[in-house]
Subunit: 407 residues, 2 copies
DNA sequence: AGGTTTAGTCCATCGGATGGAAAAAAGGGT
DNA sequence: ACCCTTTTTTCCATCCGATGGACTAAACCT
């Protein structure tokens, strides 16, 4: 259903554009905004006045040194708006408080309670969010909302976690309603990979506005950014890449995943099973994701320490992941691949030095500009992304926001 | 680079929205347009007056029968604009003349001259386009442009065919400049799969605005439609899916493609090699794509006639294609898969009855609404899509058109 | 001090969307 | 036959946001 647009939307959109430019380029002057946005000086003048009145941006001290009247640098008022982002990973629960400037004000991480009921975790999340808002001394009216990043499948429209394979107790949990009741904040639920890509898109200074984000956590997922937009798919469940075949000669693991699939190549569960076969670590309880995570940490540490078995496992994993990334780059025609997620900083030492070349070998269309890199955000990328999603939802220019009609 | 918008763009955009609605729903009244677009009656009145003055739409006879003033049905004036679409396939050269209503006025298909020089083919295309415009008695001023669908890799920005593996002589051919000089028309070059998806998007009445299009021709490619937009990728070379592994136990073919890859599973070359191994057809000259195409036609005919070897080959191909489609659906989260291209109507008898179920078995997230279907456009889908791309380029509402700034 | 350069604002205007009133064109009811 | 209702479409005045041009402001340069 294509809908038209009108002037009121236009004004909001342009205001969002200006704020967005300023979030990406702090200290830009009105003249810079004019150049960047293509709007007239007068329009910029009006919009910045409104934004200053709303407390979302402020002027800073002019710096001289150049001919002409010195420009007045504008910056996002970091106290202008906040959001809380939560990442529910089977092994770790991460919460961040983000300000409008994109800075993480506070961060907390704890182990995800295993084998408990969702209500307990919901209550824990709500309490944590409240405590962080209070601890940071933030005006509650300035908190735009609570973002939740969770593994799929989700029903984002309804705000429900449907049936994540790695969170066995979480079936049809109405997270949005529960958390909204508990905190009084608007709640946004989205997939972990979508959130991660959003955080990466925001914080990266790379010129490319298109990339594939490979999320490595207790599971593996991908998301796609094209033209500064994070693709979501029709039901917001984009990125199920675990079943992509990456090794035709892979061994069968005692594991539910597909033989030779990407998940079997790089998920902690699979890596730990492979390591246990070589006797590197004892096989942990495969229903305890914290135990799996710890065992995986041990294997990665062995590789760093020079253990040949562990090194071999990770080198093979890198080759397999490269095949999967090749599929994505070939299909989606993007020049950049970003890897991140809770598992990434344990794998990056083994992966990063070799991955660019391995992926390049997979490409059908040669791509000398190909970049494969680690996330610039870090381990808490999904939680930060969940918070970014909230800010973006209220503040970012979306073409859809230009169209008149429904909610 | 995010840019703002202004009122002039707004007017153009709304005009495009109205025309677009009318192209999808012929006979809609001004009141219908108001409901569909969300714009005010007055705005619709103004826009429709402009469109009528421009000869792009016209009023038809009101039909009574309901209370109230009868609405005046508006239809796209099929003589209001035209475009020519050309599909360069290694085996077939297809040209269509499309009117604004989306109807194919004329269509021609010939075998692609093998082992000739691009200048000859360019001259042939220009002559064909001219002849068709003349034959149809179309006012040349109403021809918006010439669209070319070609296999990748392309440099769409420059209008250059870079180095298609199946068109050995076509390296760095500046198709846009050559054809623009020869015909005096604006020329739009785009990838065959992108064009095909565009045609499908336009002609399909299905409610879903998101699907994956699997293009089966002399090669295999995919394109993705999300939210009524055809994804293009950063360099317009989206959809290289031939190397996706779809069978871990596939045999090695005497062929350049990847063992077990999607191309090896369903491309005419690979099918013919498989059939020749079983003695079903003599192995043709593998540099002559017309010969390969004919041999492939023979194999498909044998399957229809009940030959068990040919049937087995196509059934295996269907299973392999389903694995590839599963990868795409899992990754992109779309509820619909459309198959088309020059090869499709030879394969559909073997593929369609089984493909939906085979793909469903591949999905990580169950999707009861999954639809796998053949293109509603037919064999000339890429040529028609190339023509549609021209119409869309000049007439369709694109969010990007709302933004001020560069060309 | 005056010229130059760049930044930002004031004012009048323009273009486009809109709400309300009105006109138009039918059917339904008495 | 007449009036009322319903629905479509247009006219008019108005509103709102963007814009161009003139103007002010504040630096550096010579």
């Amino acid at each position: 259903m294509r809908r038209g647009s009108n002037q009121l939307r236009l004004a909001d959109f342009n205001q969002a554009v200006v704020l967005d430019v300023l979030r990406r380029a702090p200290g830009a002057s009105r003249a810079d905004l004019r150049r960047e946005s293509g709007l007239s000086p007068q329009t910029i003048s009006n919009i910045t006045r409104r934004l200053i009145d709303d407390g979302l941006i402020r002027e800073t001290e002019p710096a001289g040194g150049v001919r002409g009247r010195p420009s007045i640098p504008l910056v996002v008022d970091s106290d202008g708006a906040f959001s809380v982002g939560v990442h529910i990973d089977p092994a770790r629960l991460t919460t961040v408080l983000l300000d409008l400037d994109g800075q993480v004000r506070l961060r907390r991480q704890e182990r995800t309670p295993q084998a408990t009921n969702p209500p307990e975790v919901t209550a824990l999340i709500a309490a944590t969010a409240d405590a962080m808002i209070h601890e940071a001394g933030v005006d509650r009216d300035r908190v735009l909302g609570l973002g939740i990043a969770a593994p799929g499948p989700l029903d984002v429209h309804a705000g429900v976690i449907v049936d994540p394979p790695q969170l066995p107790n979480w079936r049809n949990v109405n997270l949005r309603a529960d958390l909204s009741d508990a905190t009084g904040l608007p709640v946004l639920l989205d997939k972990d990979v979508t959130a991660a890509a959003t955080a990466e898109l925001r914080s990266s200074t790379a010129p490319s506005n298109a990339f594939v984000f490979l999320y490595l956590g207790s599971g593996v997922g991908a998301s796609v950014v094209v033209d500064n937009q994070v693709l979501r798919g029709v039901t917001n469940n984009i990125g199920e890449v675990g079943d992509i075949i990456v090794d035709t000669d892979a061994e069968q693991l005692e594991w539910a995943g597909r033989r030779g699939g990407l998940a079997a190549a790089c998920v902690p569960e699979a890596l730990v099973i492979q390591a246990a076969r070589l006797g590197l670590v004892p096989l942990p309880d495969l229903t305890d994701y914290v135990a799996i995570d710890d065992a995986c940490t041990a294997v990665c540490a062995q590789a760093v320490a020079g253990n040949s078995g562990a090194t071999w496992i990770l080198a093979r994993a890198a080759r397999r992941v490269a095949v999967g990334l090749g599929v994505l780059v070939n299909l989606l025609d993007v020049p950049r691949v970003v890897l991140g997620g809770p598992l990434w900083n344990r794998l990056s030492a083994a992966f990063l030095p070799v991955l660019t070349e391995l992926v390049a070998e997979e490409l059908v269309v040669a791509r000398p500009d190909l970049v494969v890199e680690g996330s610039s955000v870090g381990e808490h990328v999904a939680a930060q992304g969940a918070a970014e999603l909230v800010l973006d939802h209220f503040l970012a220019p979306r073409a859809a926001a230009l169209l008149v009609g429904e909610a």
